[in-house]
């Protein structure tokens, strides 16, 4: 079943067009990667799906329902959660309060504080600290946990690996497997191609706001990705 589908999705920042006619579909339960160079439109795509950038209603379909014109908080309530680029934890809230903020979507499901602490045991000991006191990796875990607290059907992850040590990135991607095992559909935006392809079943490569390549990750042709990535 198709959970997310964009058709002719275009997005603008003022007069500047950042996305051109993007058609992407994501099946229920799968993990899909979106790769591309800086400025290719990956983050814009996620923000358009999450409602932070408005588009025409039919351009974004979630579970068959047009959501392109909905506001971000309405979309969270429908079951799309975002782990924003750079974590964006709330600095004056403790770690636990950051996690609890995810419950404002008022969605029922498998995720609660206890489950998030089981997934990221290190956060439990740090739960009363203010968010800025955490290391980058711990903050990323808290940001993922905060998104999970809204019990999403679709989890959008923007640059999970940004600025983190390789060993931490590996830990976080392992947890992503556990999240996916709950039946959550995941869309990963990454610049780290290998990491993204290892974790996903299909990928889309963006280039200058257009979809350059869409393929299964199994037996992918590296030369084809390079060509799509750099527009060669």
């Amino acid at each position: 079943m198709t959970l997310l589908r964009t058709q002719n999705l275009s997005a603008f920042y003022g007069d500047f067009q950042a996305l051109f006619d993007i058609d992407v579909s994501v099946e229920q339960g799968e993990t899909v990667a979106i790769i591309g160079a800086n400025g290719a439109g990956k983050t814009t795509f996620l923000r358009a799906v999450a409602g932070a950038i408005e588009s025409a209603p039919e351009m974004v379909l979630f579970d068959g329902q047009p959501i392109g014109d909905k506001t971000p908080h309405e979309i969270v309530r429908l079951g799309i959660a975002m782990v924003p680029e750079g974590r964006r934890l709330f600095p004056s809230l403790s770690v636990e309060e950051n996690l609890q903020l995810g419950t404002h979507s008022e969605r029922a499901g498998p995720w609660n504080l206890k489950r998030v602490y089981e997934l990221f045991p290190r956060l439990f000991d740090l739960r009363h600290l203010p968010a800025p006191a955490l290391s980058g990796g711990q903050q990323q875990m808290a940001a993922v946990g905060r998104a999970l607290m809204s019990n999403p059907r679709l989890l959008l992850c923007d640059e999970l690996s940004l600025g983190l040590a390789p060993v931490i990135i590996r830990d976080i991607y392992e947890c992503l497997g556990a999240i996916s095992a709950e039946g959550t559909t995941v869309v990963l935006v990454e610049q780290d191609i290998n990491r993204a392809l290892d974790a996903s079943v299909r990928f889309s490569c963006f280039q200058e706001g257009r979809l350059a390549l869409c393929a299964p990750t199994e037996n992918f042709d590296r030369a084809a990705i390079t060509a799509a990535y750099f527009g060669l």
Partner: protein, 288 residues
Amino acid sequence: MNWINILIQGGLLGGFYALFAIGLSMSFGIMRLVNIAHGDLIVLAAYVALVVTENTGLDPFLSLIIVVPLMFVLGYALQRGLLNFTLSGGLLPPLLVTFGISIIIQNGLLQAFGAYDHRLQEGAIETASMQLPGGLSVGLYPLLVFAVAVLAIAGLQLLFYRTRLGRAFRAVSDDADTAELMGIDNRKLFALALGIAMVFTAIAGALFGVRTIFSPSAGPIRLILAFEAVIIGGLGNMWGTLIGGVALGLAQALGAAVNPTWQILAGHLAFLVILIIRPSGLFPRTRD
């Protein structure tokens, strides 16, 4: 002993200024709204209390049972129906719109009540005082106002740090865009915030109307006092606002002790001095 008396009077006066400032501090802290109409809303609340007391026979304190919900609804509607639309275009649109609201309130009150001075009558407590050892005498009413200010701020701190709504307020204050991405309806939350701010504005208005005479043009000076208390204390810090109010009250009392015409001036000068020494206030908390 005379000086101790002066310091006590000044400190208690600070409770008043803090009460004026709570609503202003909330709307700036949560939605970065600089509400120029804040002083006029205090005066409006005093007039609403006047109408209620005259028509129901309730005394001004009891009239709050009616005034508080009315002002809450007014705040909610004002934010939802008007001010929310000004918040995406930078600092200037809300300034201009609330400046306009200020003028509308002043002239509306002038039209309805005339330019006369009014007062709310609360009875014996207005002039009652308490004798302390050493020849000190403390007015019960200023003491009551100070206690109300402390309780109001303590209550708000509980709301901010112990409730789900308060958590949402703090998150929106940190980063409104991300809060929206986490499922918070900012527009509704902002409306609630101004509604709650107006609860404190209503209390401030009624207590103000009992303490002193008021007229439709009394708002702007309350606004300035409230601003000074907020800025001396540091943006986003409610206890700081109380301390800011006390600092202002003390400066005024000391100024008046030297020469009665210096009272207001001394307060403003103290504000300027603090602004020069610590531009972000004594205990700043809010990030911009």
